[in-house]
Symmetry: C2
Subunit: 199 residues, 2 copies
DNA sequence: CCACAGATTGCGGATTTCCACAATATGCAA
DNA sequence: TTGCATATTGTGGAAATCCGCAATCTGTGG
């Protein structure tokens, strides 16, 4: 799924002009005429950002935003509105919207915001995939290796680990070496940093 | 320094009525007639939250906000404004303002926001106090010790660190031992975990 | 029953770390 | 100038880690 700006607006003219603007700047776009249409098409794997109109027939932009948040959407959302409304802007941003811009707006500015949003999404995805790959590595450890790893992360020396697990130092060394290999690290410090934030 | 709501507004009537409102709900207040006055009184140890008027003679609310951010202010900031301006609200919130409310507003709502802000500040301070103690430890390291620590955290062995810093292994060992002592850790792993999340 | 994976252990040598003792050089403040 | 903190280096030995080679024991699944 290639990164993409998803436009949701019930005004076809606006969709088309936004799409043209973004495409001309190299940003892939997909348009939806209603919040419901986008909601139906949404899936967790979508990558990119959203441009939501505030006022639409049926479900509004903020309502769609809330619904997507419920579903676990992580794409940055930029709201577009013709009628400035401070409380609405405040509410949207406090709920985590990426931006809130009033139409008409400077084309350049808007495109820049979209590009920033796409960049943010790409970064978030990169970070998330990192966490996933770490978990994958973690899962291929055997029980013993995990136990040893815990104790290593507790800052204990092999000798103490051996005592605690009632096994020989040599065995600890073997597990240690194997888990380092599996986790793709060369030192205990690297391991600690790889798992920083976890457990 | 007891938690407190700092009011900055050039309209004395508003300051007084806000102060009365907040005091009546048990929130300690301090009022300032201008951004400059507050800026002069500000210090890092202040705890609580800020209520800033947008338009004031001299330095504006947003300008004060920026200035305080530069100085490292961490108190939540609530903007108050009579003239709704979406771009300004968006800008303030994207810079980290806690809230942006239009006057006139529901008294109850405003007090609730202030209380939320005070709560947030208290939580942040609680979380930061842990980090602060670590930073204190960090600050009593000498330059060399810090350099060595960086390389240790990069997972490098003493030999490599010695090469990189163009000093002997022995010296690295000395710095290493000293910084471990100062940081109160016994192994590199403990050090990495102590600093997990930083740098 | 056999193959295979995981857990276990020992040996021995290379490498590294840990530390006490000792010493030199520099820069800054009293 | 003296004293103190910092940075630097060396020697040498004890302790720990790292690692290849070899081997045993125990389940699980074919």
């Amino acid at each position: 799924m290639t990164p993409c700006a998803y436009l949701v607006d019930d005004d076809e003219a606006i969709r088309d002009s936004l799409a043209w603007l973004l495409e001309s700047r190299g940003v892939c776009c997909r348009s939806f005429p209603s919040a419901e249409d986008f909601l139906a098409a949404w899936e967790p794997a979508l990558a990119g950002c959203l441009l939501l109109d505030i006022r639409m027939d049926g479900m509004s932009g903020p309502e769609l935003f809330d619904a997507l948040n419920e579903l676990g959407n992580r794409m940055p959302v930029i709201f577009l509105t013709g009628h400035g409304d401070v409380p609405m802007a405040v509410s949207a941003l406090k709920k985590g919207a990426f931006d809130f811009v009033e139409k008409p707006c400077n084309d350049n500015e808007l495109v820049n915001r979209v590009i920033e949003a796409l960049q943010l999404d790409a970064n978030q995805r990169a970070a998330a995939s990192g966490a996933d790959s770490v978990n994958e590595l973690l899962n291929q450890l055997t029980t013993r290796e995990r136990q040893v790893m815990e104790l290593i992360l507790a800052g204990k020396l092999n000798k103490l680990i051996a005592d605690e697990l009632q096994i020989s130092m040599r065995t600890v060394e073997v597990h240690r070496a194997k888990l380092f290999d599996k986790m793709g690290v060369r030192t205990a410090v690297e391991l600690a940093q790889l798992l920083a934030g976890k457990r």
